[in-house]
């Protein structure tokens, strides 16, 4: 490992050195060019130069690109060592790399050539990060906790600013800092720039800790929204400092308060408007799908700049822009565009986050800014920490009085400890006007120290602290189907109870909002095609897939109970029946069987996956049904926690695995469906049989309901064999797809669960009509005529021990041979 480190360092060194050399040596290198003179700018050419050295021509973009590369390489090196990043957050390591790089530059230049300037930071590095957070904001979580977030963001930030400024001033008066020229207003100004918790640092640290969602959204939401407050406070105090203490009267203060509302709400409003604009725009980008994903970036950036131009809160603006448009964008745009947007967002955000941290490190290595004042620096650190905790405790105490789910003490500690300061504070500090504030350098360097302290020290200790305090972590298991269903039941139940009890509460408002949105917003902002998925084909796909999904379940059940799957002899039988056709596929099934036996009841991710599939399908269907049904899934089985888990993580995009998986399943299914269709056309039609729905009359329920305990295996067999044929031919392609899709086989196959389920016959199968059943099922199955209303004897107990359900797993069936070659 040491070697790897060394080589990596060397690489970085080379990079930095080369960029350095380039930056300082245009002259020397051009003097080496005897014929062309000293530089291309001044060249009076005497002959046609074949090659010229035009460094200054490309200098700026070249350096930018190089630095981006260097920063990313740092990240690459860091991420190569997971045993390090497990303990030290990446952001801290990046800063340390920044120190090293900065040291090298300093060593070469004797002056810090590169540093993070506020312009670069605020205009080129920050917007994409914030846009990403807004765009991937878990909306529901965010808005349900909005009250708490706002209180922390507004009151908490004001509290931090005021207490820090006043306490420092008090200490100054007490003589703790020696002889420095800072007045009360300047302390307050300093306090206001230090007050804001930094979103970049917070996400960077918190996303590696995996605390529970509510805690995360509280810290994170606060860090986003407090920007409005910081900007206002900063501007107000900046203006006050310029005005001087004497000119400040009640009027000015009132103006300051008014400006707060204007800045914060104006910014949010502006962002919302832009968000809606993007949504509207995405309605009509059908013909330019290729640049469709770009709009959100451009308009988001415009939202940011516009807010900046109007001196509103630009961060709030871009956050709300992202928050508002995400939903509509995702329904309006093409699937590919959505993915593109998602990835591009992450690339930009993660990339610029990396750059920010590296440059935060680099900026430190600069003698000119270092002004050491032990009292000032230590006191600042101390007060920041203390007041953050006090503020959090007080505010949460108030909040807990009305919160239904109180924030526990441990969580409060994490909230307090999560008050990381970052590049925003640094950017603001650098922005200070040196003529007005004599001790600007002291403030800058204190800010840097605070940033290092919070990001590195607190960042490193955060994880152990979270573990030690046993903070509730983010759920790591996916919701199972039952849980999802239950969740939906929940939501509806709560609303219903509120309705009945006549209380107007959260749920009530949520419902109202949903109705409003459904009625107006989506009509306005979503494509008139009623978010029918982008094209018809896709739509049809979804429909078919739903059928498949349902069948999948049904079939699995029946198949699970098939005799030939369960016992050897039957198996052989089956083999005989299917003849050579399946010969080569047989080993396959055997292997799978063996496998599944082993892992029999292990809990696979499958149930939820197959569930997802249902949902996906449902969605497709719903889309087909038009506007009113668009939210059906939403209302029913759609949003699960899983879906936004981690979405706010900037560096882990693989989160929504399931979605991808579903996509994949989907595509595979489609492909195989196509193939099966083809083969059908070509007359290779697979054996088909039809067993009509066996409707079962509701069993007479005894009060104690003990009347259906043992009717399992038996009836299953009855139709399972008959069905097996139909099951096989229709489901082959699909199954194959699942198997290939790794882990999609339904493991928990309990054939007996659903003895009464009517056989589901897909329409295309039904068309095929009743054909002779080549599988030659047992007599029992053959006796049953299609369409015959078969009433199951519910109490018949399984008489044949040979029929025992040994294997509950859904076996992956052999692929039908005719599809074998082109498929696998």
């Amino acid at each position: 490992m040491a070697e790897r480190w060394r080589s990596a360092l060397l690489l970085c060194l080379l990079m930095a050195a080369s960029s350095l050399a380039n930056s300082e040596t245009p002259v020397s290198s051009s003097t080496g060019n005897e014929t062309t003179g000293t530089g291309h700018e001044t060249a009076a050419i005497t002959t046609l130069p074949i090659v010229t050295w035009k460094w200054h021509h490309v200098e700026v973009p070249y350096l930018v690109a190089l630095w981006v590369l260097v920063s990313w390489l740092c990240k690459l090196v860091i991420e190569a060592n997971h045993n390090v990043t497990n303990y030290i957050p990446e952001s801290a390591l990046l800063i340390c790399f920044g120190f090293i790089l900065g040291g090298m530059i300093w060593g070469a230049d004797k002056v810090q050539t590169f540093k993070l300037t506020p312009t670069t930071f605020f205009f080129y590095l920050l917007p994409q990060i914030i846009l990403d957070t807004g765009y991937s904001m878990p909306n529901k979580l965010f808005f349900t906790n909005l009250g708490a977030i706002l209180i922390h963001a507004i009151i908490g930030t004001c509290w931090n600013a005021a207490t820090l400024g006043l306490s420092l001033w008090g200490c100054h008066q007490g003589g703790a800092m020696g002889n420095i020229e800072i007045g009360l207003l300047q302390y307050l100004l300093y306090g206001s720039l230090m007050a804001a918790v930094d979103p970049v640092a917070v996400i960077a640290v918190f996303e590696q800790v995996h605390v529970n969602e509510v805690l995360f959204i509280l810290v994170f939401g606060e860090s986003l929204l407090n920007d409005g407050v910081t900007v206002v406070l900063f501007n107000v105090f900046d203006a006050f400092v310029s005005l001087g203490g004497g000119a400040i009267d009640a009027k000015e203060i009132v103006k300051g308060i008014v400006s707060f509302f204007v800045v914060a709400f104006g910014g949010s409003l502006l962002g919302t408007v832009f968000g809606l604009l993007i949504s509207l725009l995405s309605r009509c980008t059908k013909n330019i799908q290729i640049i469709e994903p770009g709009f959100i970036f451009v308009l988001g950036y415009l939202a940011y700049l516009t807010a900046e131009m109007l001196s509103l809160s630009s961060i709030l603006s871009i956050v709300f822009c992202g928050v508002c448009c995400q939903k509509y964008m995702n329904s309006n745009m093409d699937e590919n565009s959505i993915q593109t947007v998602r990835y591009a967002m992450k690339v930009f955000a993660n990339g610029s986050e990396t750059i920010i941290f590296v440059f935060l490190g680099i900026s430190a290595i600069d003698k000119t800014i270092w002004v050491w004042n032990t009292g000032f620096i230590l006191l600042t650190l101390f007060f920041i920490l203390i007041y953050r905790f006090i503020g959090v405790f007080i505010l949460t105490w108030f909040l807990n009085r009305s919160r239904l789910v109180p924030i526990s003490f441990v969580e409060q500690i994490i909230m307090g400890y999560g008050g990381l300061r970052g590049a925003v504070a640094y950017g603001l500090a650098v922005n200070l006007n040196e003529t007005k504030i004599k001790e600007k350098n002291l403030m800058v360097c204190t800010t840097l120290i605070v940033v290092y302290f919070t990001v590195i020290l607190q960042g490193v200790t955060m994880k152990p602290l979270v573990q030690w305090l046993n903070v509730k972590r983010a759920a790591t298991v996916d919701l199972t189907l039952v849980e999802k269903v239950q969740n939906k039941v929940f939501e509806h139940m709560l609303v219903a109870i509120e309705d009945i009890s006549g209380q107007i509460g959260d749920n009530y408002w949520r419902n109202k909002w949903r109705n409003f949105e459904e009625k107006w917003m989506s009509r306005l902002l979503l494509k008139p095609s009623a978010r029918k998925k982008q094209d018809r084909l896709f739509n049809v796909f979804h429909q078919l897939n739903l059928q498949d999904a349902m069948e999948y379940v049904k079939e699995g059940e029946h198949r699970g109970s098939l005799e030939f799957i369960r016992n050897e002899s039957a198996f052989v039988d089956f083999k005989k029946k299917f003849g050579e056709d399946y010969e080569e596929a047989m080993p396959d099934i055997m292997a799978v069987m063996a496998d599944d036996q082993g892992s029999a009841m292990r809990r696979d991710p499958v149930p939820s996956v197959s569930l997802e599939m249902h949902e996906q399908n449902m969605r497709g269907l719903r889309e087909a049904e038009g506007i009113n049904s668009h939210y059906l899934l939403d209302q029913h089985l759609y949003k699960s926690r899983k879906q936004h888990r981690y979405r706010f993580s900037r560096s882990h995009l693989d989160i929504n695995q399931d979605e991808n998986e579903v996509q994949e399943i989907f595509q595979r299914t489609m492909r195989s469906r196509l193939e099966s269709f083809k083969s059908g056309k070509m007359g290779v039609a697979p054996p088909k049989t039809i067993t009509k729905h066996t409707k079962r009359e509701p069993q007479p329920k005894m009060p104690n309901g003990r009347n259906k305990p043992y009717h399992s295996g038996d009836e299953d067999f009855e139709f399972s064999e008959g069905d097996s044929a139909s099951g096989y031919d229709t489901s082959f392609p699909m199954r194959v797809g699942y198997r290939a899709g790794a882990g999609i086989e339904n493991p928990a196959f309990m054939p007996d669960l659903d003895p009464s389920s009517p056989l589901h016959i897909p329409p295309w199968l039904a068309d095929a009509g009743l054909e002779v059943n080549p599988v030659a099922p047992s007599e029992r199955a053959q006796v049953r005529t299609p369409g015959h209303l078969h009433r199951l004897a519910s109490l018949r107990t399984s008489a044949q021990p040979g029929d025992t359900v040994r294997d509950r797993n859904l076996l992956t069936p052999p692929p039908p041979p005719h599809r074998d070659d082109d498929h696998l």
């Binding site: 239904l404 189907l481 239950q486 139940m493 149930p607 449902m618 295996g713 389920s757």
Partner: protein
């Protein structure tokens, strides 16, 4: 203070202990009760069905049934009422009380159980202590009832899959001849363990009287 006043005060006191609501909340709910029942002593199903806001709720029948379910009155009786008085109404409502920060751990578990039990009862329509596939299907179907026929099919499939899932997780060693009869309460509790029922299943019962306005309107 008239006699009736003291009478109802006394009643309220009684219910405070039983349901955990504050007197204020009980008063509010009582008003609502009277509003719903049209100032009668008892509430019938039609009363609840007539609540306009409930019309769009896919699981409204289940919810309404729950109000008339004797099992939700904490005395372990089976069957259902034709009409309920205020006390029963309140008992059902009490399932939706939020936890407060002061709730002790035991109370928490108790409340949690109570809430889960309520949900369970909602699904277990025949009261045999098991949610059978039939029952579960019905529940899911109802949940998806807005989506028409396909919703129904989807519901079936979903219910079936969910049931399989439950069976596989809860009875890992299900013998070959065993049949999974349905979700028992214990299983149900186990399944919902991660959902943090106790903190989520609640309605904000206001101390303040917001219903007042409407009440005033209807009574005048």
């Amino acid at each position: 203070m008239g006699a009736t006043q003291t009478h109802s005060e006394y009643q309220y006191e009684n219910m405070v202990g039983k349901t955990g609501f504050s007197t204020e909340q009980i008063k509010n709910l009582h008003m609502r009760f009277q509003q719903l029942s049209g100032n009668e002593k008892t509430l019938r199903r039609e009363h609840l069905k007539n609540i306009p806001a409930l019309a769009n709720n896919p699981i409204k029948t289940e919810i309404i049934e729950a109000f008339f379910d004797k099992r939700n009155q904490l005395d372990n009786e089976l069957g259902s009422y034709e009409e309920i008085g205020f006390e029963e109404f309140l008992m059902v409502m009490s399932h939706f009380r939020p936890l407060s920060i002061k709730t002790s751990e035991e109370e928490r578990t108790a409340m949690r159980r109570q809430k889960v039990r309520f949900l369970f009862n909602m699904h277990d329509t025949d009261g045999d202590g098991k949610i059978t596939l039939e029952e579960y299907r019905k529940a899911v179907e109802e949940l998806l009832s807005e989506s028409g026929t396909i919703g129904q099919e989807g519901a079936r499939a979903i219910a079936d899959a969910a049931m399989l899932e439950v069976a596989s997780t809860n009875v890992p060693n299900l013998g070959p001849d065993d049949f999974y009869e349905g979700i028992t309460f214990e299983h149900f509790e186990e399944i919902l363990k991660d959902l943090e029922m106790e903190s989520r299943m609640h309605v904000r019962f206001l101390d303040m009287n917001t219903a007042n306005l409407r009440c005033g309107k209807t009574s005048s």
